[in-house]
């Protein structure tokens, strides 16, 4: 639903009292803003009104009969009565009707204690039941997918879930069947409610008819404590409320804010809290024994770990060696800032990179001018989307684009591989940026340009220079939104976890910024850009990196060349891994430090719009796991550097002081109604890079297919694999190919194929099951990333498909 236009209001009479309301706003919302709560079940502020439950009937002067307040828009001078005897009688009547067939099994219902039906019955309901007949019976509960159960006896037929599925998620797989008293919510035969957003229907169901399997019977509302926070699942930064009981996270619910998520969460974000309590968490610092064989680690104390790392740093620095860090996208802004500061002032290097050569150039991301925010989508004259499949990678961003396109009618151009759920609504789809002709754009109005890395095999430089070229061509009309995927990667870049950037969206050679930093940071660091992730790993392969910090990242799965990443780690004399879980990188570590993560560390994060939002600590980290910030500070202090940054609050104050784009960001700005929307950071001073026309993609040669490597929503990442409820959901090792291409190649859907790089130097050689998918462009082989063993991805790669019998 669009934002309320609060600029112009008109007077209406509400129960005899004059109040101000926006014309066109629904009465039910206007009354609520004026402090009058009109009871309702089917109305939801983010769903199309249907006026089915009939609970919100009111009297409006001059309109015949009772009017549903959820459907009637405000008009100037309207006289509304919400408390008349007739209204009250009808409310009681509707509640009585709803309770006739309701099983009243509240004591064993997850919703008990926080159920609108219970609450309304207390406030508006009849005293006792006059119903002596037999209630409706259904088999209960029935699973509608792997995460959600349906109890049709509790259902009050409000159509919130069905509207969410079809109108919001675009997965119209929940429907009503039958009619009258038999009316029931159902999935189609043999077709579960397969949606990445299925948990939302549990949250918006006004009764306990839909419950989530992970939360089922876990707690009662009065046993839990709750804190508002921001999801760390991806860079969208959805708001949510995190519940804890006995130091365990048990539930994450969406919280409505207007700017970002509207209360929605994707299923990964919603249920991934399970990984926080996983038994596989790292809990003690580990050191590799010098003489022992691989994988032989011994536990050490934090003090010893800090001391030994500090000694190494001192030694390497003394000998003029190289220290580098990769990763950091998992961290809060405050932790990322601490890492950034640590690398500069303690290690004296700019060799830091929070991206693993799988995103976009950091200066393009941090330097974008005239940025779009999500709320610009619905107001744009057109949206041009040149990025990864949003539904798979940035799910709630997909919902917002979908709303703008499908519900608000904003035209959409898609450039690149198809967007599930959006391509069907696009005005036109282009295979490559080179094929897109700006002449097609409307001649006036804002153009929102969303730019991301479409495929790990795509040239990110070319993609960003193309985007800048298009922006230059269109001038002021363009609002650019560069999007990266991983958790707080945008915040990490803003904190200077990039070889060419310092905190606050400035370049490392920015004199003003360096001067200001010099007042706070004691320690020297070079004025030239350092090595990026690929260069760091390259140098490491050559034995030129002496200490490598790997912070919440796994180059062996996420870097496009896992073979090289492995060799790099093997050849680095001292590898320090800070993480939540053992990973393929920890196998090559010399020190493994247990980190505290989401739900355990408080602070701020920055989403892909550049919106700073708070994250809360709700449980204590397991064992001796500690915040990354604390680790870096302790090492620094061991080396007698006055590091500061003792608490997240102090760190944020320092960020606001030294990081130009973060000036004025302070905790007080997150309070109140406005604070719910977070704080947008300002523009930095990164000089726009030069644009260049997009070079024609290497078209497939001979029998070759263009390689596309995209992320799938469910993968092997810890967010999924460490959650018992989610780990079974990934599609597995498949490749997707257009059915016509398959037919031409004589390969049948579902058979095994070998995917081989055409370039003999390419080293890509995969065995996979092939799935025919007509959404994949002709001439393309699409391989979802991180489904099983990692493989080598060459930019611009073309591959052959071979049938294996």
């Amino acid at each position: 639903m669009p934002e309320n236009d609060t600029l112009s209001t008109v007077p209406i009479s509400l129960d005899g009292r004059e109040v101000q309301a926006s014309p066109g706003q629904l009465l039910i919302a206007a009354a609520e803003e004026a402090g009058v709560y009109i009871p309702r079940f089917c109305w939801h502020p983010r769903l199309r009104p249907v006026a089915m439950c009939r609970m919100c009937l009111v009297e409006v002067e001059g309109m015949r009969g009772l009017q549903p307040a959820c459907y009637v828009p405000v008009k100037e001078g309207m006289e509304v009565r919400t408390q008349t005897p007739l209204v009250k009688k009808v409310q009681e009547g509707v509640l009585e009707f709803l309770l006739l067939n309701h099983p009243l099994d509240c004591p064993v219902c997850d919703r008990g204690g926080e159920c609108p039906l219970q609450d309304h019955t207390m406030s508006f309901g009849p005293g006792e039941s006059r119903f002596v007949e037999e209630k409706r019976h259904f088999e209960k509960p029935v699973p509608i997918n792997n995460l959600v159960l349906l109890d049709r006896e509790r259902c009050i037929q409000c159509a919130r879930c069905t509207r969410f599925a079809s109108d919001v998620a675009g997965d119209p797989l929940l429907e009503f069947a039958s009619r009258g008293n038999d009316l029931q919510v159902t999935v189609f035969p043999d077709e579960p409610f397969s949606s990445y957003f299925s948990g939302n229907v549990v949250q918006i169901c006004p009764v306990g008819a839909l419950t989530s399997i992970p939360y089922r019977f876990k707690a009662r509302p009065w046993d839990v404590t709750i804190a508002e926070t921001t999801c760390g699942g991806c860079a969208v930064g959805c708001r949510g409320a995190l519940s804890e009981t006995r130091n365990r996270l048990i539930r994450f619910l969406g919280v409505d804010n207007d700017a970002v998520s509207w209360g929605w969460l994707c299923d990964k974000g919603r249920f991934a809290y399970e990984y926080v309590g996983s038994e596989n968490r790292l809990t003690v610092p580990l050191f590799r024994e010098e003489t022992a064989a691989a994988d032989a680690f011994s536990e050490v104390s934090w003090a010893e770990a800090v001391e030994r790392i500090a000694e190494q740093i001192q030694e390497v620095k003394g000998a003029g060696g190289n220290i580098a860090a990769i990763g950091g996208a998992r961290l809060t802004n405050e932790e990322a800032y601490s890492l950034s500061k640590f690398m500069r002032v303690v290690c004296g290097t700019n060799d830091v990179d929070c991206q693993l050569d799988d995103g976009l150039p950091a200066d393009f991301v941090a330097g974008a001018r005239n940025r779009a925010v999500i709320n610009d989508f619905a107001k744009a004259s057109v949206i041009v989307l040149a990025g990864p499949d949003l539904k798979e990678e940035l799910p709630v961003l997909y919902l917002r684009v979908r709303d703008a396109v499908v519900n608000q009618g904003v035209p959409l151009f898609v450039i690149g591989p198809p967007q599930s759920g959006l391509t069907d609504f696009a005005k036109k789809v282009f295979d490559t940026p080179a094929a897109f002709d700006p002449v097609l754009l409307p001649i006036a109005g804002d153009v929102v340009l969303i730019v991301g890395r479409q495929s790990a095999a795509q040239d990110a430089e070319a993609q960003s220079t193309w985007a800048l070229g298009l922006s230059e061509q269109l001038g002021e009309r363009v609002k650019l939104l560069p999007i990266l995927r991983r958790s707080n990667v945008h915040g990490a870049i803003d904190m200077g976890l990039s070889p060419s950037l310092l905190p606050g969206r400035v370049t490392v050679d920015d004199l003003e910024a360096r001067e200001r930093l010099a007042q706070v940071w004691e320690g020297e660091f070079p004025p030239d850009p350092g090595r990026d992730c690929r260069e760091i790993l390259d140098a490491a392969v050559e034995g030129k990196i002496d200490i490598l910090f790997v912070v919440g990242a796994d180059p062996l799965t996420d870097f496009p060349d896992p073979v090289m990443a492995r060799r790099a780690l093997e050849r680095t004399s001292f590898v320090v891994v800070l993480d939540l879980f053992p990973s393929s990188a920890t196998r090559f570590a010399d020190v493994v430090l247990p980190a505290a993560g989401w739900g355990e560390v408080s602070g701020t994060v920055t989403n892909l719009e550049g919106r700073v939002q708070r994250v809360a600590a709700k449980v204590t980290a397991p064992g001796q796991a500690a915040s990354d910030a604390q680790v870096f500070r302790e090492i620094a202090e061991h080396l007698e550097v006055d590091f500061g940054c003792g608490t997240p609050e102090a760190t944020l104050r320092e960020i606001a002081q030294v990081a130009p784009a973060y000036q004025g960001v302070s905790l007080s700005r997150f309070r109140g109604k406005k604070g719910k929307e977070g704080v947008l950071v300002g523009e930095g001073r990164v000089a726009p890079r030069t644009s260049s026309p997009f070079e024609k993609d290497a078209r497939p040669l001979g029998n070759g297919f263009r390689l596309h490597v995209g992320r799938a929503f469910w993968d092997r990442g810890t967010l999924v694999s460490e959650c018992p409820s989610l780990s079974g959901l990934r599609p597995g090792p498949i490749v997707r190919v257009h059915p016509e291409d398959l037919a031409f190649a004589g390969i049948t859907d579902g058979s095994s194929v070998r995917v081989l790089d055409e370039d003999p130097a390419g080293r890509l050689d995969l065995l996979r099951t092939v799935v025919a998918d007509e959404r994949v462009p002709l001439g393309t082989v699409s391989v979802p990333h991180n489904q099983d063993e990692p493989f080598v991805i060459r930019v611009g790669a073309t591959v052959t498909l071979e049938r294996i019998d």
């Binding site: 249907v50 006026a51 089915m52 439950c53 009939r54 609970m55 009937l57 009969g65 009772l66 549903p68 459907y71 007739l86 009688k89 009808v90 009681e92 009547g93 509707v94 009585e96 009707f97 709803l98 006739l100 067939n101 006059r130 119903f131 002596v132 007949e133 009050i156 037929q157 009503f176 039958s178 009619r179 009258g180 008293n181 038999d182 009316l183």
Partner: protein, 446 residues
Amino acid sequence: MAELVLTRRMLDRPHDSWTLDAYHEMEGYQGLYRAVREMTPEQVHAEVKASGLRGRGGAGFPTGTKWGFVPKDIFPRYLVVNGDEGEPGTFKDRMLMERDPHSLVEGILISCYALQSEHAFIYIRGEMGHAYERVVRAVEEARAVGYVGKDIGGTDFSCEITVHKAAGAYICGEETALLSSLAGYRGWPRLRPPFPAVKGLYDKPTVVNNVETMCNMPWITRRGGAAYAEMGTERSPGTRIFCLSGHVNRPGNYEIELGTTFRELFERWGQGVRNGGRVKAFVPGGASAPWFDASKLDVPLDMDVLGKEGSMLGSGAVMVMDQDADIPRAVWRLVKFFAHESCGQCTPCREGADWLEEILERMLDGHGRPQDLDLLFDVCDNISPGLNWPPAQTTICPLGPSATAPVWSTIRLFPEEYKRLVTGAHTSLASSAPAGAEPAGVTADA
């Protein structure tokens, strides 16, 4: 008696009235040619207005006025003809479609011309296979000779007709549910506004009219609206087909002039009550209408008068019950129908209609409780506050209130029949109807 507008052809040519040849021999398609060749669309519309014709689907809304609600400059616009006829006791549209399908086709073409619509849809109840075949055939015949299709009658007026066979739900007769169903969606009534005239089929301006309403159009264009308005009463002009059923000697479809009394309908056309009995109660206008007792026999068949008397002419279904009728059982049967046919969208209708059915069933099974009468009233009141006619409603469409009308109207008229069910003295009513409780009924005229 006025001349027959709707049933003359089927009475004159019982063996082939549905063929194009027969229809041609009885002034067939002359109204269409007159309209498209000699009149402007506005003139045709003006004639329909002048006729005073009111819709025959149930609500009795003046057709010419309804057509005027279509926004002037939005195209395309559609005409949708409601042939879903599902109201219990109503069986006139089926007869018209089976026996006089060409008058329907001609009426549609004339109406489309007046509305400047180039596409009409006929939505025919799924169970009416025979009617469907006859209408499809009539459209084909008409297309073959150029009445349907491009450049009709050598003019630049073109019109397509699509015949759609429905899937069998009473609620799809409600016009907005019908439009949803026709477009391939679930047959649920929609909230208004927007009204179909502004945003109907495929979100385009749409007029929905009943089959019988359409069948009047050839006559009105041939003879003029004024001639039509001379028949019937001032506010209910013309003739209408009444579907007479129940305890009369000769049930059937009768086209009679509006303004005739119920007594005349029962005596002259129905040939009196069976076995020389008396009228105890009757349903004046379809299952949705509040019932009357014999004191209303001299009420004229006039939409406005009936409205003032607290009921309606509705779909034209008149059901007669004699002194032996078990009123609560008959009411229970109707309520059961509505409960079964509720679309289930609104809480009061979905839950309430079913509850009413269950309470009545329990009472009929001998388990009535003293509080049940108040309960029945109150449940009705929560669906249709005030229990008046035309009804107030807590629901989206009028089906919910329809389910209550038989209940509260008969509890008011025949309280003793219900009281007997709550005192536990209930046996079989057929043999124990208290004489003298009802006013005198009509007797068969010899």
